[in-house]
């Protein structure tokens, strides 16, 4: 990793990106290599098909959603800075010790991570996870193992549980609350997340 510090020059706005995302130079470099690897046409931008080419992602039940999360609405491609910015969500925030998820600012804060996850559910971006949206995700994740009505009862139950204002949908605040009830280190998200950044492993 360290050997190619010269190639840092290839990365546009490396400094800014590092500042913004909190990635170290080594991380950034590694991500850049990965980016270039994925970018088969060498256009400097990734298209959804490039992501689709990743083996594991094709099997991932919600892979499509994750891919689309990289693309801002209406855009067909994603360039390196955006790519990095999205991945920065997943930077562990362990360094700042967030058992209670207190800090606000950085992109890898608990709230931002939750927001990212939330948007994977909220496909129409209306700020709410409707029952239909939840059902779609459930259907994707559970596949054929479960019948439609089972799915529906699960979705129903989940919404009932989280829905505080009784609008039959889960808003981001509600979503956040659901996750916060459990200080479980092991339950969802942010505490256990991976580190796309730890290149060496």
């Amino acid at each position: 990793m360290g050997s190619s510090s010269s190639s840092m020059d290839h990365i546009p706005n490396a400094e800014e990106l590092m500042q913004e995302t909190g990635f170290s130079a080594a991380h950034l470099l590694r991500l850049y290599e990965r980016f270039e690897f994925l970018d088969k046409d060498q256009t400097g931008e990734l298209r959804p098909e490039d992501f689709g080419a990743i083996g594991g992602l094709a099997l991932n039940p919600i892979g499509d959603r994750i891919i689309s999360a990289f693309f801002s609405p209406g855009q067909e491609t994603v360039d390196f800075p955006s790519f990095v910015r999205v991945l920065a969500h997943f930077r562990p925030n362990g360094t700042n010790r967030t058992r209670n998820g207190t800090q606000q600012e950085p992109v890898n804060s608990r709230t931002r991570k939750l927001k990212f996850a939330f948007q994977l559910y909220d496909q129409d971006r209306d700020g709410k996870i409707s029952r239909a949206e939840l059902l779609q995700v459930l259907r994707a994740m559970l596949g054929i193992q479960v019948t439609e009505e089972q799915l529906q009862s699960i979705a129903e139950r989940a919404i009932q549980e989280a829905d505080l204002d009784r609008d039959d949908a889960i808003s981001f605040d509600e979503f956040k609350k659901v996750q916060q009830v459990s200080p479980h280190p092991q339950t969802p998200t942010k505490e256990t997340p991976l580190h796309p950044t730890e290149g060496g492993r």
């Binding site: 690897f37 991932n60 559970l142 479960v146 699960i154 129903e156 609008d167 092991q186 256990t192 991976l194």
Partner: protein
């Protein structure tokens, strides 16, 4: 029988002669295995001078001054027995002695536990383990005074063969697997590196202290001895950790790291201990370099081999439980046996037994839990917990007792204090050092507070004690000193640190764990997050933890689960299971909290007018309202979810079964559990019943629509599922099922209920089975079975179940507002209406669109029962009873007639009534619907709106939500 028993006793006496302390353990499995240590009654003052025999042969390693003896006593007893003439009353002490003493010990231990928990305040301060040790000290003192000798001691063989496995088995089986593997890196590091570090440092430093003269001359030990001692004293003890940490409730991560370490370090301890023993035997100077490498190899073999043995047994266990459908009764036994066999097998090959058992438990848990029935699950859980708890109690008591035996140990202040200091210091240093390294890799670093708790939580316990007692006094000259030191160390860590760790944790504000279970949202999101993280790892081109876990899950899903899970189970998704579990849990908690309310409401039969239950009903309504709709939902869900294994319901049913029709039915309930052939009478009954039912059905049919084909097919789909489950209780399956196709009318809701019911598992669902046809196929044989379960014709137990199914269905005949609501309003007394209203409206927010369409729809949504049926479900029983109005009566009859038509006997009379009343009922119910204003409309509207989902095929069945918004 008697002679046989005596023979057996003699045999065991010969084999395991001196083994009193074992008394505690064998009850678990001992006697059958020929491991019963016959002991002279020590606690009986009348027999203080019980015979002392020769030390036991195989097991009594430290038996020198133990009373081995029942040998002669046995003989005496036998003579006694056979010798004299016939005696009316005989003193058969020798015959019952062993089990008797064991039982007495268990009783003492259990009673002690009760006593400790009398004082709430006291137990929150003093851990139970401390109290047990103190009790042991006292008991030991008593025995010592009475006998002049200590009869009891924690016997290593018993400890390792019986007491430890019960605890480890429990711990392994219920180990939170995900948490464990999430922290596996840390656990392994602490367990291997940490233990090695502790062992070597303690050993070397003690040797240094000895050279420096801090330790007395009399302690004849050289480097090897000290290393050996260091090895056995350095391992954190699972029993002690469990005992102390369970009361402290530190957060899960911290707990799993310390506890996981204490389990996994067994391999290290075993190997070090064995290696050093062999080194001590050959003498330090004869040890060759190759031996060190052998030691390392041995470590790998012991640990990996132990793990593999455990996993093999886990696979076997999963595979076996796949086929226990027909023998549910012994399902739990398989679990115990195989987990225990995993332990014994590992011991057999001198692998790490604890590792083996732990991994067997972890590995098998998922598949076993999915395969076995709910009752078996409960049985396994409680049996394991009971055994583990009692084993733990006995271990601590005997630790206390063992300490009173002065002959066993020799005191050296230098050694004791040095050991105490060293283990504490090195533990702390080791933890800090390793954490520093680990934190470079961990996402959630362990902070200083965690490290303090981990250092402080390094408790030593019975394992160390058992190991030190096992030492051969001839080879390890300083054994007595080591024993004494170990006792002190164990006592110090368990008592002093155990006492102080709670305040420490509080003072340091260590994040505590909450015992709450994950909600369905968490379950969903957790899975989603896993997928997200896996995907991001893929995108970032990283093969990290999530990547591999995903790979494992794929493998598990594609191969392992196919092999180890029942087909029916395999097809279910984990999330669905989780969903059901949550529902059941909620339901149980609702019932627990409002328990008597519900029960009494349910129990109030039409015959016993129960005004009393009204206020209670209000409470329930309020309770439900306050607790949000989720709870309401659950109550409904109980009914239709396969998981409707709420014991409460069963209980209610039994109560009813007991109370009703006792004279006729009673005998059947005796048979119900067993697979007895049908008696002549029963067959007759069944015939009569069937004939009657048929005719009744006919009258019914006329009033009904034809049922939909679609529904039927749907039902079949389910049916296949249910078939498997229910097949093990053929007799439970309600006979009327064959009529069911006829009966089941047309109505979407009826069908809906049915679908979901069909899935429910056999084991609990007496109630439910009765109500719905699970398996259209099985019916013919099973008629009588239905009797015991479902004989209550009353609306009471069935009210939640049958109520919602048939009521709406009646109402549906024409009018939009189903009779459910009508009834509810009608029946609920005025004073209740407000509460009812509120709860309804709270449920109702979703249902704003006024019953737009009411296509008949087979789909079940859990929610669909939420609004509408609920009123029917519990209010009616009470209300019906009180309001002897015609409707009430009809309703009860109706329910009887339809969903519970399995009573064969009384059908004669009732049937007539029922058939007469059916039609009036329908018609009478219909009109009130429109009349009843908002109150009744709401629930039904809600119901409707829920019901009106497009049929299966159509693309977006549930899009209704968003559109409403």
């Amino acid at each position: 029988m008697l002679p046989l028993g005596l023979m057996l006793l003699l045999l065991t006496a010969a084999a395991a002669a001196a083994d009193p302390p074992g008394t505690g353990a064998p009850p678990l499995r001992g006697p059958e295995l020929g491991f019963s240590p016959p002991v002279s009654a020590p606690l009986l003052p009348s027999q203080p001078g019980a015979e002392y025999g020769a030390p036991g042969v195989a097991l009594a390693r430290s038996a020198a001054e133990e009373p081995a003896g029942p040998g002669e006593e046995e003989e005496a007893g036998e003579h006694h027995h056979h010798g004299g003439g016939y005696r009316v009353v005989q003193w058969e002490w020798s015959y019952v002695q062993t089990p008797y003493i064991i039982a007495i010990w268990l009783l003492v231990a259990s009673v002690a536990k009760i006593l400790f928990h009398f004082s709430q305040r006291f137990t929150t301060v003093v851990p139970e383990s401390c109290m047990l040790i103190l009790l042991g000290l006292v008991l030991g003192g008593v025995v010592l005074i009475a006998n002049k000798k200590q009869l009891y001691q924690l016997e290593p063989a018993l400890f390792f063969l019986f007491l430890l496995p019960t605890i480890v088995g429990d711990a392994g089986y219920f180990m939170p697997a995900r948490l464990f593997f999430d922290n596996l890196g840390a656990i392994l590091t602490y367990a291997v590196v940490g233990t090695l570090w502790n062992a070597f440092c303690t050993g070397f430093c003690l040797y240094a202290a000895k050279l420096l003269g801090v330790i007395d001359e009399r302690v004849q030990a050289d480097l090897m001895d000290f290393l050996l001692f260091g090895a056995l004293i350095s391992a954190v003890d699972p029993v002690a950790v469990l005992a102390v940490f369970e009361e402290v409730h530190v957060n899960d991560t911290l707990f799993i790291i310390v506890f996981g370490e204490s389990l996994v370090n067994d391999a290290v301890t075993v190997v070090l201990y064995k290696v050093y023993i062999s080194f001590v035997e050959v003498g330090a100077e004869n040890v060759q370099t190759a031996d060190y490498f052998k030691g390392v190899a041995s470590f790998l073999i012991v640990s990996i081999g132990g793990t593999l043995v455990g996993l093999v047994f886990a696979v076997i266990l999963g595979f076996i439980t796949r086929f226990t459908k027909k023998v549910r009764i012994i399902e739990p036994l398989f679990v115990f046996l195989l987990v225990y066999l995993a332990y014994l097998t590992a011991e057999l090959f001198s692998l790490s037994a604890i590792l083996s058992m732990t991994f067997c438990g972890i590995g098998a848990n998922k598949y076993v839990e999915a395969n076995i029935s709910q009752k078996s699950r409960t049985t396994v859980k409680y049996t394991m917990k009971t055994l583990a708890s009692i084993a733990e109690t006995i271990i601590f008591i005997f630790l206390g007792i063992s300490a009173v035996d002065k002959s066993k140990w020799a005191w050296d202040t230098g050694l004791v204090s040095c050991t105490l200091i060293f283990i504490f210091v090195f533990r702390a240093v080791g933890v800090i050092g390793q954490t520093w390294v680990l934190n470079r890799f961990r996402l959630v670093p362990l902070d200083k507070i965690d490290q303090v708790v981990m250092s402080y939580g390094g408790l030593r316990g019975a394992v160390a004690f058992a190991l030190v007692v096992l030492l051969d006094g001839n080879q390890v000259k300083a054994k007595d000193y080591f024993v004494a030191t170990t006792i002190v160390v164990v006592f110090f860590t368990v008592m002093f640190q155990g006492l102080t760790i709670k305040p420490l944790v509080k003072w340091l504000k260590v994040p505590r764990s909450t015992s709450r279970k994950p909600t369905i949202n968490e379950e969903i999101h957790e899975r989603a997050f896993d997928h997200i993280l896996t995907a991001v790892e893929d995108i970032a081109g990283l093969q990290g933890y999530h990547h591999w876990r995903d790979k494992w899950e794929q493998f598990d899903k594609n191969y392992l689960s196919k092999l180890l899970l029942r087909k029916s189970v395999y097809r279910k998704s984990e999330l669905w299971e989780a969903y059901q579990k949550i529902n059941i849990r909620d339901a149980i908690s609702v019932i627990d909290q409002g328990g008597n309310v519900l029960t009494s409401a349910r129990l109030s039969l039409p015959s016993m007018a129960s005004r009393a239950s009204f206020p209670e009903v209000t409470n329930v309504t309020n309770y439900l309202r306050e607790n949000g709709s989720g709870v309401c939902l659950d109550l409904q869900v109980i009914d239709n979810v396969p998981g409707a294994k709420v014991e409460e319901d069963t209980e209610t049913h039994h109560v009813l079964a007991e109370n009703l029709y006792k004279p006729r039915r009673r005998y059947q309930s005796h048979y119900s559990r067993h697979f007895m052939p049908l008696g002549e009478k029963e067959r007759q009954d069944r015939e009569v019943f069937q004939r009657n039912m048929k005719s009744r059905m006919e009258t019914f049919k006329s009033t009904r629509y034809k049922r939909h084909k679609k529904e039927r097919s749907l039902k079949k789909r389910r049916g296949s599922d249910a078939k498997e489950d229910s097949s093990d209780k053929p007799r439970r399956n309600v006979s009327w099922q064959d009529k069911d196709p006829v009966v089941v009318p047309v109505e979407s809701e009826e069908d809906k209920a049915e679908h979901s019911d069909a899935e429910k598992e056999d084991d609990v669902g007496i109630t439910f089975v009765a109500r719905k046809a699970e398996t259209p196929k099985q019916r013919p044989k099973s008629v009588p079975a239905a009797l015991d379960g479902c004989q209550s014709p009353t609306a009471a137990p069935s009210s939640p179940t049958s109520g919602d199914s048939h009521l709406p269905w009646k109402g549906s005949v024409g009018s939009p507002p189903p009779c459910v609501s009508v009834e509810a309003t009608k029946i609920i007394p005025v004073d209740l209406q407000q509460a009812w209203n509120q709860s309804i409206s709270s449920l109702e927010s979703i249902s704003s669109p006024p019953a737009p369409a009411e296509p008949i729809h087979p789909r079940v949504s859990a929610l669909s029962r939420l609004g509408g049926p609920r009123p029917a479900s519990y209010t009616p029983p009470g209300s019906i009873g009180s309001s002897t109005s015609s409707i009430g009566a009809q309703v009860s009859q109706g329910s009887f007639g339809f969903s519970e038509k399995k009573k064969e006997d009384e059908e004669e009379e009732e049937e007539q009534v029922a058939s007469q009343e059916m039609q009036p009922l329908m018609s009478s119910l219909r009109p009130p619907g429109p009349l009843s204003p908002p109150l009744r409309r709401n629930p039904c509207v809600y119901l409707r709106s829920l019901v009106t989902m497009p049929p299966t095929g159509s693309g977006e069945p549930h899009s209704r939500g968003p559109t409403q918004l």
